[in-house]
C-alpha cells in the first residue's frame, strides 16, 4: 500500500495532467474549481472537471487498487480542499482494504 505522501504526489500529478495545467499553477495558487475551468484550455465546464476527477480516481484504482469517489463540490472549492477530500477517501478505502 502506498503511504500518504506517495498518494498525494500521485494525485497532484495525475490531476494536473488531466486538467492540463502545471502542478505549480494549480496547487501553488490554490485555484478554485471555477478559476481552474477558466484557466485551463482543456476545460469547458464542470462536466470536464468531473471527468478529470473520474480519471484521477480510475488511476488510483488501476495503480493502487483503491476505489475513490468524490462528492459534488461547489465551484468555489479550492483545489487544496479537493486534494484533502481525495486523500481522506483514499485513506478510508485503504483502511477498509487492510
Amino acid at each position: 500500500m502506498p503511504d500518504i505522501h506517495e498518494m498525494e504526489t500521485y494525485i497532484r500529478r495525475k490531476f494536473a495532467e488531466h486538467v492540463g495545467l502545471p502542478e505549480s499553477d494549480l496547487f501553488g495558487e490554490d485555484l478554485t474549481l471555477a478559476a481552474l475551468i477558466t484557466r485551463s484550455e482543456r476545460m469547458t465546464n464542470s462536466v470536464d472537471l468531473m471527468e478529470a476527477f473520474a480519471r484521477t480516481s480510475n488511476g488510483l484504482r488501476k495503480d493502487f487498487g483503491l476505489r475513490v469517489r468524490l462528492p459534488a463540490l461547489s465551484l468555489d472549492t479550492p483545489i487544496s480542499r479537493v486534494l484533502e477530500v481525495f486523500l481522506q477517501e483514499a485513506q478510508s478505502q485503504q483502511g477498509r482494504a487492510a
Binding site: T44, M50, E51, R55
Partner: protein, 330 residues
C-alpha cells in the same frame, strides 16, 4: 424505420405517456396509412445512410408533425377560469412562466451550435453534417412551441395579478447557456425536457380547474415530444461513431449524483452562475403549496433516455456513475 408517432394532449395525456417511459409510441412504420402519419424519425442515422433520406425529406416530416400538433395559446389561456384557481395553482403558473423564459435562448443557441458543428463536419463526415443540420433546422419548431408555453403562462400570471416579471428578470433569463460538446448539449436538453414533462404532468394531476389542467397537460405533451426529438438526434450522433457515449453518461451523472441537478432548487447547494440561468435552479417553493418532485420517475426516464441514446442499459444512479467511470478510463 423506427418512428415515434405524434400525440397531443387531447389524444393521449402527458401522464399516460410518461407512465409508459416517454417512448410508448415508438413503432415500426408498416402497412397502409402509416406513411401518412407524421412521425419523429427515431433512427435518424439509418434513415440517412440506408434509406437515403435527404434533408428535404426530413424537414418535411418535421413540418408535418409540427403542423399536426399546433394549438392556440389564446384559446387555452381563454379556457382557464382564473377565479377558480387555488393559491397552489397560481404559484405553479408563476413558476412555469419564469422557467419557460429560458427556453428561447436554448433554442437560439441550439440552432447556432448545430449549424456551426454541421459545417465543421461537412466533407469529413457528411452524414453527421446532415444529422446536425436536421437538428438545427428542427430548433425553429422547438422555439415556436416553447413560445406558446412561455407566453401562455406569463399571460396567465398577468391576468391573475401575480408578482410581475420585470424586464431586468426577463433579460436575465434570456442569457445564453455557454457552448459545449454537441452530444452533451442534446443529452442535457433531453433531461431538461424529462424534468419539465414530469413536473407538468404532476401539476396537471393536482390542478382542479379543467382549463388550467388542459394547459399543463398540453405543455407536458409538448415537452415529451421535444425529449423524443433530442433523444433521436443524440442517438444519431452516437450511431455515427463520431461522438462518445461517455458524454451522454457524464451529463446524466451530473443530474443523478448525490446533490445533483435533478433535485433542482431543492438541493443543498445551487451554484450561483453569472453566465446563464438554469430554470430548474430558480423554481420557488412556498410553504404549504404544492411543488412536484417525482424524482424516481425522472430517474427512470433518464435511464430510458440513456438506453435509447447509447444502447446501454442502466437502472440506478450508481450504475450510471459506474458506467460513466468505465467509459472515461484513466
Amino acid at each position: 424505420m423506427t418512428t415515434v408517432s405524434p400525440r397531443v394532449a387531447r389524444e393521449s395525456s402527458a401522464e399516460a405517456i410518461l407512465e409508459q417511459g416517454g417512448s410508448s409510441h415508438v413503432e415500426h412504420e408498416a402497412g397502409a396509412g402509416a406513411a401518412n402519419r407524421p412521425v419523429i424519425v427515431a433512427d435518424l442515422y439509418q434513415a440517412i445512410t440506408r434509406e437515403s433520406r435527404s434533408l428535404v425529406d426530413l424537414t418535411w416530416e418535421q413540418q408535418r408533425l409540427h403542423e399536426s400538433r399546433r394549438w392556440s395559446a389564446m384559446e387555452l389561456v381563454g379556457a382557464v377560469d382564473i377565479q377558480r384557481l387555488s393559491e397552489s395553482d397560481r404559484n405553479l403558473v408563476w413558476n412555469a412562466g419564469r422557467a419557460e423564459l429560458t427556453t428561447k435562448p436554448g433554442a437560439d443557441r441550439l440552432e447556432r451550435l448545430a449549424d456551426a458543428e454541421c459545417r465543421k463536419w461537412q466533407g469529413r463526415n457528411d452524414v453527421v453534417a446532415s444529422i446536425l443540420q436536421a437538428c438545427g433546422t428542427w430548433s425553429r419548431y422547438w422555439n415556436e412551441e416553447e413560445a406558446h408555453h412561455e407566453t401562455s403562462f406569463n399571460r396567465l400570471s398577468q391576468l391573475l395579478g401575480l408578482e410581475p416579471i420585470s424586464d431586468a428578470t426577463f433579460i436575465e433569463y434570456r442569457k445564453v447557456f455557454p457552448d459545449d460538446d454537441m452530444l452533451r448539449t442534446l443529452t442535457l436538453l433531453s433531461i431538461s425536457e424529462i424534468v419539465a414533462a414530469v413536473n407538468y404532468g404532476h401539476c396537471a394531476r393536482v390542478i382542479q380547474d379543467p382549463g388550467l389542467k388542459a394547459l399543463f397537460k398540453q405543455v407536458g405533451a409538448d415537452e415529451i415530444q421535444h425529449m423524443n426529438y433530442f433523444i433521436a438526434f443524440a442517438k444519431a450522433l452516437v450511431d455515427s461513431g463520431e461522438y462518445k457515449a461517455k458524454e451522454a453518461f457524464a451529463v446524466a451523472h451530473l443530474f443523478l449524483r448525490e446533490g445533483g441537478e435533478v433535485h433542482g432548487s431543492k438541493r443543498g447547494h445551487v451554484e450561483s452562475r453569472g453566465t446563464h440561468v438554469n430554470w430548474w435552479d430558480q423554481v420557488e417553493h412556498r410553504e404549504g403549496l404544492y411543488s412536484p418532485d417525482a424524482i424516481e420517475k425522472k430517474e427512470s426516464l433518464i435511464f430510458n433516455a440513456l438506453k435509447r441514446i447509447t444502447g446501454m442499459t442502466v437502472s440506478s444512479a450508481q450504475e450510471v456513475e459506474d458506467t460513466w467511470m468505465d467509459l472515461v478510463g484513466c
